[in-house]
């Protein structure tokens, strides 16, 4: 199919190149087939389920959506989900931008070390890291035990089961997704620009703010979008490190699917989350080129 379409779609001008291009295009067939079979079709099934699978006979195809919005807790948790995702994005940006900036100005060898350091969390499982945070943060954990033993505090300070705990756990996992796109964009900024600004009399901060920062914004937007969208789907970390107020919608989906076997409402929640995520991407696409977000590594 790929072969046929590209052949008929092109003018005769580059006939000699076409077979080569097309043969390479064949490489895309397995991943595309994989995505269709294991991602697209299940996604369609899930969407269909949300309008066909009801625990009790329902006349209305949108009955599950009605059920979802009838529950105040569902709406509240959906709001939480976006709030926690936004907060993680801000935290990651606050940590990630200076980090990427540092990587950009130090010698290459040190930059390499910094890169390894930020990628380190990827080398252990999410679950292990989250349990490690529990051991560190809880009332009987390392920090509180130490402070209590030093008699610096009388009562354990609440670290776990707080939004702070969630932010620590999530930002550690998500930080690389912020740092790498920003770093990739920063590396493409010609140092001559800031130097020129300095030559023209701009103090260092003004040169940064008016020249470097605007040029790095595509990376900031890309990283923020990536972190935000990934954070929307989090569930184990807020469940283990957060309070009930940090509950995210994925926890509800898991509970509906695994415990109550109510796959209709589970699918409905998934479709709502997906719809809202796509809306975010759509709105974002008005401001940034999504290709930059998801293709920023190849050019660096």
């Amino acid at each position: 199919m790929l072969l046929d379409r590209s052949r008929t779609g092109r003018s005769g001008r580059r006939d000699r190149d076409d077979p080569i291009v097309n043969r390479w295009a064949l490489l895309a067939v397995p991943p595309i087939a994989f995505l269709v079979a294991f991602f697209l079709i299940p996604l369609i099934v899930v969407s269909l389920r949300s309008v066909t699978d009801f625990p009790r006979p329902a006349g209305d195809a949108l009955a599950n959506y009605g059920r979802f919005f009838d529950s105040a807790a569902n709406v509240r948790v959906l709001g939480n989900t976006f709030w926690v995702a936004a907060l993680s994005t801000v935290v990651c940006l606050a940590l990630g931008y200076p980090y990427a900036y540092l990587m950009n100005i130090v010698r290459p060898r040190l930059a390499g070390l910094l890169l390894i350091a930020v990628l380190l969390p990827f080398w252990s499982s999410l679950l292990v890291r989250t349990y490690a945070w529990q051991v560190i943060l809880r009332d009987t954990g390392i920090i509180n035990t130490f402070l209590l033993d030093m008699r610096l505090i009388d009562e354990p300070i609440p670290l776990i089961r707080t939004t702070l705990g969630v932010m620590l756990g999530m930002s550690q996992i998500l930080l690389p997704f912020m740092v790498l796109p920003i770093y990739a964009v920063m590396r493409r900024i010609d140092p001559e620009y800031t130097r020129a600004a300095a030559n023209l009399g701009a103090p260092p901060f003004a040169a940064f703010r008016r020249v470097f920062l605007p040029l790095s914004l595509p990376g900031v937007l890309a990283g923020s979008l990536l972190v935000f969208v990934l954070a929307l789907g989090f569930y184990i970390t807020p469940a283990l490190l957060g309070s009930p107020k940090d509950t995210m919608i994925s926890q509800f989906i898991a509970s509906a699917v695994q415990q109550r076997l109510d796959w209709g409402i589970g699918s409905t929640m998934a479709v709502i989350l997906m719809g809202l995520t796509l809306t975010v991407l759509f709105v974002a696409s008005r401001f940034i080129r999504l290709r930059d977000v998801f293709g920023s590594f190849e050019e660096s």
Binding site: P55, R67, S71, A72, A73, N74, R76, V77, N80, R138, D139, T140, R161, A239, P244, K245, T247, F252, S255, A256, V257, Q258, Q259, R260, L261, D262, W263
Partner: protein, 376 residues
Amino acid sequence: MTSWRRTFPLVTAGLLLVAACGGGASPSPTSAPPETTAPESAAPESAAPVADICTNPPKAEGTTLTFASYGGAYQEAQRKGWLEPYSALTGVTFQESEDSSNATIKAQVEAGQVTWDIVDVGNDFGLDAQADLLEPLDYTKIRKDEILDGFASTYRVADITYGVVLGYNTEKTGGQVPQGWADFFDTTKFPGKRGFWDYSAGGIFEFALLADGVAPADLYPLDLPRATAKLDTIKDDIVFWSSGAESQDLLGKGEVAMAMIWNGRAYSAKNIDNNPVEIQWNGQIVTADYFVVPKGTPNKDAAMDFIAWATCKENNAAPSKYIPYGPTNKLAKADPSKVAELSVSNINDTTAYFDDAWVVENAQLLEDAYQEWKTR
């Protein structure tokens, strides 16, 4: 394993006796299916094959059964108590999954790819509501009349009993002994955090109502506004756990002073981890895990044979040698080393039971009330 083998002739004789007497002495309720009344008229003939399956289950060399349970020490006890002896007797090979899940059963049945033959499930599964997913059990093989009342029904038969109990960390309670759920909710008398399973149908509402003075027999239908009002009184002190291992850790390390916990986990916290944990049996909920057979398994008959064998009084208590979970067969004798630690050995007038049918029927209601309370 060896203990029941040694006593086997005695037990067999006893079984025949009990089957004969039990059938005659207690008139069956009118609702009982015809199979259970059959032994009355022809006790010798029909008792014989049943006794046979308990002590001499049919040989099935070459058959492979997939047994799914919850892993860990629990499944190890089931393996040593049931799977290994049954393999030795019949030649059946067992494949095991350690991730029993109602959702997986549903997925397998819906996809028509049933690979689990016998599944150990919790008390919220196996009712008529799941008729589409399960094979009716073969009560011509399984001795329903020997199973605890209410613990055997069309699609499920209980394989072990356990208690959802109040566990407390003696270091955190400072020598005082909490007497029941009212003390659990009294953070003035007993300072410290409280652990609850993060599940709407796991017992949290039941315990709140017991603490508020509701009698065990009057729990259902659950008064949810009353339960959530009671829970509100300690809401800021609650730590939610989502796995048995987590509850064992939270209570053992003293992150919480008291926890709603499964009695086997409290036992492990004390006896395996050597942490200062005790159980208050008052107000426990006695419940069970159940065997079910997913609909469409190609090994249905062999699965029924195994279930019948494992719920026989000779065999049913075998895992209790390794873990403090009790038998469901009324006539089975638990291992002496664990008798005192079993939920069923500690039943008193404060003991409660889940109304599984009500809970499953009202699952959505429970979940909505729970999440509304929890995330508020």
